[in-house]
Symmetry: D2
C-alpha cells in the first residue's frame, strides 16, 4: 500500500497527540495513503531521541530546515510554539510539501497572511489543526445546520473554561508570559470557540468585549520568593456579530474553578438548537421544534452510532465512547483523504488567517473599548 512520509516538527503535548493519530489512523480507517512516521525533529538531540522511541518515529533530526527539504518527506507537520510556525511553514511550502500546522496559525495576522500566500503560491495542500471540528458530535451539529434542521441561526453561545490558573500561587509559567505565549486565554482557548463559531454559524463580522488579568503578579518558577508580572489575559469575554445576522458571546477563562476543559457551545436557530460540551464529547443535545409538542425537549444524543454518526463506523459498537485523542485521528484521516483526492481540506490556512483576524479584532476591542470590525 502507498505511503506518505511525515516529518513532525516539535514533540511536546501536541506532538504526542499527532503522533498517536499517525500510529492509529491506519488501524481503524483505510485511507488511500498510509502515513509513515519518518522523522521527528526537535532542538535537543537527547530529547528528540527519547521522544521518537516513545512515540514511534523512525528517525530523528535537530535541524528543521534540512528536514523540510528532504526529498522523501511528503507532509510537514508543525507543532512547535506559535512564533515559529510562519518560518517553518513557508519553507515547507517552498519545498512543495503538504503543510499541516497546529493552531494558532501564527502569532500575528501578518505572519498568518504570509503563510497563506506561501502555500497558495506553492500550490500545496495546507491544513490547520482545529481538532475539535472532528469530534463526531460537532460534525453532527454541522450536518444538522447544513440540512437546515435548525432553521435560521440566531445565537452562538461559546465558553471555554478551565481553572488551572485560579490559584494565585500557580507560578509564572511560560503560558502566562506574552513573549512566550503570544496571548493568554484568548489565543489559547477562546480561539477554539471562535473556530467552532465560524465552522458552525459563519463568519464573524465584528466584536467587542474585555480581556482581564485577575492575578497581576505571580511567583517566579525559578525563584518562588520573587514575583514577576503576568503579561497575558487570564480571561476574555466578548459579544460578537456574525455576517448572517446571528448574535454571539464567546468567553474563555483559566479562572473558572471546577471547569477543567469545558469547551461548550449552544446554537439556537428558528427550528431548533444544539448544545455541546467537550467534557462529554460523545453527546450532542438537540432540540427540534418539529417534534410533537408534548415531547419537545433537548434530545440527549449519544453520537456513537456507526450507522448514522460521523466517523463512528470505524470505532466501536454504539455506546462505547471515544476520547480526546480521537479527534486528531479524524483530522489526520481527513487530511490524508484530501491529499489522495487533491482537494483542499478545511480548516486550512485561509481559516487560520480569519481566526487570527478575529483574535486581533478582540484585542483591539479590549484596548479601544469599542466594537471592532473583523
Amino acid at each position: 500500500m502507498a505511503h506518505l512520509n511525515v516529518a513532525l516538527i516539535g514533540y511536546a503535548f501536541m506532538g504526542r497527540a499527532h503522533s498517536n493519530a499517525y500510529r492509529q489512523v491506519g488501524r481503524f480507517f483505510s485511507p488511500k495513503y498510509l502515513p509513515r512516521m519518518k522523522v521527528l525533529c526537535g532542538r535537543t538531540p537527547a530529547g528528540v531521541t527519547t521522544a521518537a522511541e516513545q512515540l514511534g518515529w523512525e528517525e530523528t533530526a535537530t535541524d528543521w530546515r534540512e528536514v523540510v527539504r528532504r526529498k522523501d518527506i511528503d507532509i510537514v507537520d508543525i507543532v512547535t510554539p506559535g512564533d515559529s510556525h510562519a518560518e517553518i511553514a513557508i519553507e515547507a511550502a517552498k519545498a512543495g510539501k503538504v503543510v499541516f500546522c497546529e493552531k494558532p496559525l501564527a502569532n500575528s495576522v501578518k505572519d498568518a497572511e504570509k503563510m497563506l500566500a506561501a502555500v497558495k503560491k506553492a500550490g500545496v495542500i495546507h491544513m490547520i489543526c482545529h481538532n475539535y471540528r472532528r469530534a463526531p458530535a460537532v460534525m453532527l451539529a454541522r450536518q444538522l445546520i447544513e440540512q437546515g434542521k435548525l432553521g435560521r441561526l440566531y445565537h452562538y453561545r461559546g465558553t471555554y473554561l478551565q481553572d488551572w490558573a485560579a490559584d494565585p500561587n500557580v507560578p509564572l509559567v511560560w503560558r502566562l508570559r506574552k513573549e512566550a505565549a503570544g496571548s493568554g486565554a484568548l489565543g489559547d482557548i477562546a480561539s477554539h470557540s471562535m473556530d467552532l463559531a465560524r465552522f458552525l454559524v459563519g463568519e464573524i463580522s465584528e466584536v467587542t468585549g474585555a480581556l482581564e488579568t485577575f492575578v497581576k503578579e505571580r511567583p517566579l518558577p525559578e525563584n518562588p520568593k520573587k514575583k514577576g508580572k503576568v503579561t497575558v489575559d487570564d480571561a476574555s469575554a466578548s459579544v460578537v456579530r456574525f455576517a448572517n445576522g446571528a448574535l454571539g458571546t464567546i468567553e474563555a477563562s483559566r479562572f473558572a474553578t471546577g471547569r477543567k476543559n469545558y469547551n461548550r457551545f449552544e446554537i439556537n436557530g428558528s427550528k431548533g438548537s444544539v448544545a455541546f460540551n467537550l467534557e462529554r464529547m460523545n453527546e450532542l443535545d438537540v432540540y427540534l421544534t418539529g417534534d410533537d409538542r408534548a415531547v419537545q425537549g433537548f434530545h440527549n444524543v449519544m453520537v456513537t452510532d456507526g450507522g448514522s454518526h460521523p466517523y463512528f463506523s470505524h470505532w466501536w459498537p454504539d455506546g462505547h465512547i471515544i476520547g480526546y485523542e480521537h479527534t486528531f485521528i479524524h483530522t489526520v484521516y481527513d487530511l490524508l483523504e484530501s491529499i489522495a483526492t487533491n482537494k483542499l481540506p478545511t480548516p486550512n490556512f485561509e481559516d487560520g488567517v480569519r481566526n487570527q483576524k478575529v483574535l486581533d479584532a478582540m484585542e483591539k476591542a479590549a484596548v479601544t473599548r469599542r466594537w471592532v470590525k473583523v
Copy 2:
C-alpha cells in the same frame, strides 16, 4: 393575631402570584403580622370582581388613588405595567403606606429616582419584588459567598433564555411594542439576571454589548394579514465589569429555542463556584477547591433540607420540591418580617434605581457601541 391590610393594584400574571403569596404565607410561615387581602384594584369593574373572587380579595376598587389613601390600608402592592409604577408608588408613599412594587421599578432612571426620593421622604418601608433572590438555592449561594466559601469572585455568567418569540409568526403582542413594554428581553428578563448579579457579586460598574431584533416585522394581532414593526429588542448580550474586579457576561433572549425559563448563572471564585438554573430551582451546583482532590467536582445540592437550607423548614421533608410561586411567598414573608422589625428589606427602591441604571447603561452601550459607566 395582628394583621396588615393589603391593597393590590393590578391583577394579571403578577397579581396571581402575589395573591397566592398573601394567601399562603400564614399557612406555612408564622410572620408577626399576617396579611389581610383587603382590596384588589383594577380598571375594569367586571374584571376586577372576577379576579377578586378567584384570588381571594375581600373588596374591589377601580380608582387606585382612592385606594392608596384609605386609612385601613397598610401595604400598597403595585403589579401594574411599569409605566404606572411611579405615580402609584409616590402617592402611596405620601399616604404613609408600605410600598411593595414589582420590577422593573419604573421605565426610566428618572422615574425610579423620584420613587426612591418619595419613599425616603415619607420614611416608609419599601421593597421591589425580585422574587428569584428568594429561591432557596439562590439564597444559599449568597450565604456561601458571604461566608467566603468561594473566595475572591472572578466571574459571573448569567443567561436568561426563553423561546416564545423564536417563531416569526408569533404576532406583534404588547411585549414586542416599546410604547407598551418599555423594553424587550433586556428589561423583561436580563433585568432579573442583573439583579442576581448585583445580589451575589456586587455593583456593576460598566457595561458594553448589543441589542438585537431578529424579526423586524410581525403580523398584527388584530389583523394577521398586515404586519407591524417590532420596536423592542429580541435579545441582549453584554459584557460587564463589577466594582470588585469581577468580569461578567449577561445575555437574555426570547429566541433560544428549547429554553423555556432558563434563568441560569454561574459564579467562579478563587475557592469555588456555584451554578444555578431556575428550571431546576431546587438544586444548586457547588464546587469547592477545599474538597479532597480525588473527589473534587460540582456537588449537586438539593436545596430542600429544612435543617440547613433557607426557608425550607417551613415546607416539606427533604427532597420534596417547591415551585416558582414559592419564591413570592418567601418574598412576602421577608417583607412582613421587615415591617414587624421596622428594618428596610432588600431589594428595595435603592436596588430598583441601581438596576435601572444598569439597564440604562446597556441601552446606551448598544447605541454608542462603547463601554458605558453605570
Copy 3:
C-alpha cells in the same frame, strides 16, 4: 357557587398537604363544586385547634364517629395512621359520604377488602390518595403509553430511595416499629413505586425478592442510652412480573445515602422509553425509536407547557415549575370532578386492595424465599 363540605380526620404531614389542596384548588382550577374546609378532627383538643387555625378549617372536633355522621359533611378525608383507616372509612361509607383515604388503604388485605365492600355497598364515591400519579410528568407518561407511543412494554424499573435512616444513631422512631407503622420501606415507599407500576404498566402477577433490616437495634427516643429492636424492613428489593408479560424490578430503601426522595422509574417499550425522577418532577425523559436515527436520544421534556401537558394550563407559563404539594391539588381536583360527574375516580379502593395484595405477596416472598402470585 355550589360547595362540598369536607371533614378531614387527622392533621399531621398528610393533613397539611391535603389542607393545602383544598385551600388552593379553587384558586387555580374551576371545579364544579368547591370544597369547603368544614371540620378538622383530631384526638387532642389543643392540637386540633392550633392546626385548624394554621391550616384554615372552620371547625374542630375530637370524635371522628360524630363527624362522619354529620348531615352537613359531604366528603370524609382520612389521613390518620393506616391501622385506623378501615374503621373510619367503613363508618363514613355507611353514612353515605364520599370517602377519600390516604395510602396505604389499610394495614392488611383483609381490612382493605372490607373497606372496598363497604363503599361498594353504600354506593359512594371512593378514592385512595396516590398523589404521584398526578404529577404532570407521570400523567404524560401514561398518555404516551395509552397512545401506543412506547409500543409493547418490556420493562419497569422502579426505585424509591431515601437516606434518613442510614445513620445507625437515628433513634427508634415510630416508623421503625411494626406495631405503629405496619411495615417499613416496603409499605411506606415501595408502595408508591408499585402503584405507579400498576398505573403505567398494568397488573403485577407475581413477585419475589427480599426485605432487609440493616440496623437491628437503635437508641430509644425516650432513653438514648438504651436500645430497642427495629421491627420493620429498612429496604426491600424485588423482581416482579406483570400480567402483560413485562418484567420489573422494584426497590425501596431508607439507607441510600444521598438520595432524599428519589422516586424514580424507567419504562422500556418496543417503540420507546420514559424515565422519571420525583426530585425533578417537572421533567420527563422520553425516547422514541421513531425519531430520525441521527438525533435519537432521550428528550428531556419540561412538562410545564399548558398547551400540551396535563394540568399545567392552570398554573404558570412554560418553564415555571410546580412542586410536591401540587400533586395533591391535582388529586383533589380530579376527585371533585368525579363527584360532579358521578364517576368513580382512579385510583380508588379497588386499587387500594390490589396494591395491598402486592405488598402482601412481597412479604410472603421474602419469608418463603419463593415467587408468590399476587
Copy 4:
C-alpha cells in the same frame, strides 16, 4: 528493552480491542516488559492475514495448538468464543505460558474450574479480562471503598442495559442462539455487572430472580421469511445478597430502548455513595455524609486528574477524556506489571470461576423459582 511475545487467539471485536491495547500500552505507559505482537491465530487463512495486517501482528497462524506450544511465545491471549476457552487455556498453561482470557472464563463452572486447576498446577500467571474494572472511575470507586470513605456498604444497584434486540425484526443472530452464545443478556452483560459487584462490594452469597425471552421467534438470517426460536434470555433481573450483608439488584437487558451501553451501578454505604455509568465513563458521582450539611450532594467528579486519579497521569491534561478502548490498555498494563513482579493480577481465573458460579446460581434460581446459594 525487554519484550514479551504475545499470541492472540481470535480476532473479532475483542481481538481489535486487545490488539489496540498491545500497540498502545508502550506509547503511554512504561511497563518493564513491552509486548511484542508476535502472532495472530485464526481459523481462516485469508481472514487472519487481513486482520494481522490491519491490527499490527507480525505473523499469522491457523492452528492454535501449535501456537501455544511455540517456545518464543510468552503470553497466550484468548478472545475466541466462550466454548473454546477451556481447551486453549489448559493447553497454554501446560506449555507454561501466561494465560490471559476474555470473559466469560468458560461456558460452565466445570470448565472454569478445570482451567483454574490447570493454571494453578502449571504455576503460571493468569488473568481474566474484565476491562471495566480498569476504568479510572471504577478504580477510584474501589479506592474510596477501601479507604472506608463509604463506610459500611448497604446497597449495590447494577444495571447493564442495551437495546439492539428490542425490535422483533432483528434476525436470529448467533448471540440469540444458546448453542453458540451459551447465554443471553445474563452471560453477556449481567456478568459485567456481577464482576463489578464482586470487585467493589464483595462476594455474592445468594441470588434469586428471573430470565425472560420477550421475543420467542425471529426471522432467520439466512431466510428472513422463515422464523427460528430464540434460545437465550433477552433480559435478566435479580436480587442478590452479599456475604457482608449488603443487598443488591442486578439487571441486564437487550430490550431497554434508548440505552446503548448503559452499564450503571450505584453503591450506598453508611458514609457515602458512588454512582457510575459507562456511557459517561470519565465521571464518578460521589456523595459523602461528611461534607458540610448545607453543601451535601453528589459530587460530579471528572476522573481525569493525573495528580489524583488512577492511570490518568499517563494520558492527557485534566478534562481531556479517554474512551472505551483505554480500559483494555490499562488491563494489559497491569498484566505486564504483574508478570514483571511475578504477582498474580486480579481479576484472575479464581474470579472467573466465582463469576461463573454466580451466573450458574442465577440460572438455577430462574428455573427453580427460589433463592439459590452461590
